[in-house]
């Protein structure tokens, strides 16, 4: 039983190391592109959907209405849709790609520092901290960007930098700074949540497979399918909620005055 917390390097191109999880990420994106080119052909789309168009519309409409339920605003939902739907689909298929037959079991034996190491060719991209950190950075940076676009630079900055001589005085300043730290902590929690869940799932499957190779891993595989959906859902759900929070006006004052 060999488990490595870092993704194993497969080969390197001009000093750039391609790890097995990067390889899988490329494969997942490649199939994503193929699916888009094959399935989404606006010229063939008809008013009354049939076949593949029906499935695509069902998926997209489900996602959009889910987002609309959270943002309570059609315009915002359509504005956030490209980012959030992309994150959802990519994370979903990355999580599931680690469950394909052969993932983590088919590989090469390579000499590494005098020891023979087993290097699996396929590894879920989500089971690599690099990928999850990159994805959470994208998500958190777009949250800041949408916040600035919606409120303007001054309006958005006033969420974090509150003058100590105004309404809630020093408390407001401290809370603002804490929120600024919280923005950084989002990256941490986003990336660790996804990585932890998917990598723990892989470890669980490996342990189960080595204990009892037949039948017993099956329910765990089903559970991992479920965990993959839930984690993709949570990643995109949190992105929407943070986007919604970042683009919302500063309400603390109004609520204060209303009381």
């Amino acid at each position: 039983m060999e488990i490595s917390i870092v993704a194993e390097p497969l080969f390197s191109i001009a000093g750039f190391t391609v790890t097995n999880s990067l390889f899988m990420a490329i494969v997942v994106s490649f199939f994503g592109f193929i699916a888009v080119f094959l399935l989404i052909q606006p010229k063939k789309f008809t008013m009354v959907p049939k076949g593949a168009q029906n499935v695509i519309e069902a998926i997209f409409e489900g996602l959009l209405s889910f987002m609309e339920g959270i943002t309570q605003n059609r315009r915002q939902a359509t504005q956030f849709f490209p980012l959030v739907a992309t994150i959802f689909l990519f994370v979903l298929f990355s999580n599931w790609s680690g469950l394909l037959p052969g993932a983590g079991t088919i590989g090469l034996h390579e000499m590494n520092g005098g020891k023979v190491m087993f290097i699996p060719i396929m590894r879920s991209p989500s089971a690599d901290l690099n990928m999850t950190v990159a994805l959470s950075l994208i998500s958190v940076f777009s949250v800041q960007l949408f916040g600035i676009l919606a409120l303007g630079l001054r309006g958005y900055a006033s969420k974090f930098f509150v003058a100590p001589w105004k309404a809630p005085y020093v408390v407001g300043t401290a809370v603002g700074l804490l929120e600024l730290i919280g923005e950084g902590a989002k990256v941490l929690s986003f990336s660790f949540r996804l990585f932890g869940n998917v990598f723990a799932g892989e470890v669980l499957l490996t342990v189960m497979l080595s204990l009892v190779p037949y039948l017993v891993p099956l329910p765990f595989l089903v559970m991992e399918l479920f965990v993959g959906v839930v984690q993709a859902g949570i990643f995109s759900l949190l992105t929407i909620v943070f986007l919604k929070m970042a683009t919302a006006e500063h309400e603390a004052h109004e609520a204060h005055e209303a009381h």
Partner: protein, 83 residues
């Protein structure tokens, strides 16, 4: 006591012990937290079934935040084990 020292003196055993303690201690709080969250969420769904989808969304959000704490410890434990 000497027996414990002998066990922990072995680097591998120390690793296993520290990973086990890390995840065991960290699973305690979030476990209680998620239980409390879901019980309150179900209670409020029972009281107001029309708000089912709204409550469920915020409940899952809360669970995600609570679970993240356990996941931090899980990542630490995995790092201790497989480093």
């Amino acid at each position: 006591m000497e027996g414990v020292q002998a066990v922990v003196a072995n680097a591998d055993n120390a690793k296993f012990f520290s990973a086990a303690i890390a995840i065991a201690a960290a699973a305690f709080g979030p476990g209680l937290g998620i239980g409390y969250l879901v019980s309150k969420g179900l209670e409020s769904i029972g009281r107001n079934p029309e708000a089912h989808s709204k409550i469920q969304t915020s409940m899952i959000l809360g669970i995600a935040f609570t679970e993240a704490i356990a996941i931090y410890a899980l990542v630490v434990a995995l790092m201790i084990l497989f480093k």
